[in-house]
Symmetry: C2
Amino acid sequence: MATIYDVAKAAGVSPKTVSRVMNGDAPVNQATREAVEQAMLALNYVPSSAARTMRSQRSGLIGMITGAISTTHQFEDAGLPEIYLVQGAQRVIGQSNRTLLIADSGGQADRIPTLLQTFREHRVEGILYVAEYHREVTLPASLRDLPIVLVNCFDAAETPCILPDDEGGQFTLVDGLIRRGHQRIAYLTLPEHQVACGLRVAGYHRAHAQHGIAVDERLIQVGALPSPTHEFDLLWDALDRVLKAEPTVICCANDKMAMRVYGLLRDRGVAIPQQMSVAGYDDYRMIAEHLHPGLTSAVLPYAAMGARAADKLLRLIGGSTKPGEPNREHVSAPVAWRDSVLTRDANVTQLNSRRRET
Amino acid sequence: MATIYDVAKAAGVSPKTVSRVMNGDAPVNQATREAVEQAMLALNYVPSSAARTMRSQRSGLIGMITGAISTTHQFEDAGLPEIYLVQGAQRVIGQSNRTLLIADSGGQADRIPTLLQTFREHRVEGILYVAEYHREVTLPASLRDLPIVLVNCFDAAETPCILPDDEGGQFTLVDGLIRRGHQRIAYLTLPEHQVACGLRVAGYHRAHAQHGIAVDERLIQVGALPSPTHEFDLLWDALDRVLKAEPTVICCANDKMAMRVYGLLRDRGVAIPQQMSVAGYDDYRMIAEHLHPGLTSAVLPYAAMGARAADKLLRLIGGSTKPGEPNREHVSAPVAWRDSVLTRDANVTQLNSRRRET
DNA sequence: CGATGTCATGACATCGGTGTCATAAATGAA
DNA sequence: TTCATTTATGACACCGATGTCATGACATCG
């Protein structure tokens, strides 16, 4: 592999001049520059980032640590859309001329120290710490000395973080449902211990309050999906309970649950959306777009969160954080309206976008 | 950040001795070793991979280049399960004490050269080139000088690659259906230009041949999903056509299509699986497990493919490829049987696993 | 015309590890 | 006891960039 010395020799200049051509940090004669560029091309020269890192003490690497990717196998597959997160982050990081180093903990917390060690060896300039679902975490003490931004999680120490606006998302969804003529809105929630659950229920209430609609508590039920720990289909019971309260629409905690509700409702001979509207959360497009009818869903803005997180991290590294900047940032997102929600009030027009022609 | 010199000074030895303690490449006195280890701990020493790479000329990095992650936005989201691929690869690579450097082309082919440049600067020892779906590719000429393994794709130059066994997967599925008493098996295929389409149709035929069942060609239809380019729901027509041939089960090209077929069948009042069995392909668990009833699906073994590819690449790098080793390797996988397939022949017992209690 | 400044370039040291070789002490064999 | 090994350690150079400083050739100014 050609080095800067080979290029220098071929171009008949000193290595330092080659360096100057590459970095443009000092004027170089036009003729010299061309000679050097030709030599680089001829030798297929690629500068060594290792040598650069060593001399400049800057690796140009950003570490991203994620557990969710593999958590998938062990627990639930809630984490899949994380790739959007990677995407969003990578776009921003790439623009800053840095490289993203991704490490997957494989869902095993005990592997994290090893991964961090690798990051340190590569002298990453900062770390994006990604959780598979909105939650509180406790950072290993060994992370305190690196610029770090948490994504989809937060800690007690107020480490900078980027979170989804769960309250706002559910508010927007329910508000939209009400505007579409729904008054009895059922809600099959996440397990109550989840951070997002409380926030979204709050959004649900705020939307009702804003429209002066009293909330019938029977409409809110925890909609547990079957899992390795819960053999039985608790969702079936939860659905049963909310149906007794006679809703016109059922909000589900996520698209997966909504997909299941589609099946359960149809087993009972309930037509979607003619007899019952359904909404999800996540806008997990692989599901939401391909269910029939298309599933209305509050967007979980992973790509935007990744980008925001990368941006914040770069500012942390560059020391250019604004003085008043809050440590915790919430990313809002719209609702993707699809055909699973029926507009009941004939006076409400033009709200239901993306109509399918059948 | 502490260097090897700091550690040496603290431990009262030479840097080289510290190096020996770390690498164990020469005997070190027990007392000395302990002193060094203590110093490393006290100073929180982490060796610099940049310095190592420079001296040893080995980066310990493997590059993975993928387009699918972002293709998602632009075309179809077929690529999502790639994360499993990353996982599988990372496990193997981690065991070899190397680090995986992942670059996402963002679905834009023109960004690939930039990514490769980054890989080169980091002196990756080899490359995993991942396609979003089973296809033929043409490698940029600049890749010829690096050890490389294609994943989910192949090229005319017979570059080593790892492919899914599409023929075998569909065969296993159809064979299983026949054993469960199905004789009229509809098949909504992928678009015909896709490599996997031909292979799977071949598997479909082989299974029929093996059981001496003639294939009614009307049962095989291309089942295009709606997409930006196809506004209309061609799947609806395709389904219409296969239903005329009176099948007892419908095989779909992928789980996404199967999900849609669930909806379309139910619109027609067809109960799954009582009146019609359904099967998918991919075993995209987020869909297959949560559809109701659970979707039977041929597994697309991404994790195994990632691991196999990493393994093959490491052997290429290490020069320990077996002489007779084929360039193209196919990874087989079983079928995940779930409740969407009805066992029709009462004599066939114990085949339908994972029964749900309702 | 000499002083000063800018442009263009090179010599040299340095970043933090590790390969090579040298050396001294301890051990074992003859 | 003496020579041959083995063990334990250090001195030194080197990997490939780039920061610092020096130098020579011109250009500009008073």
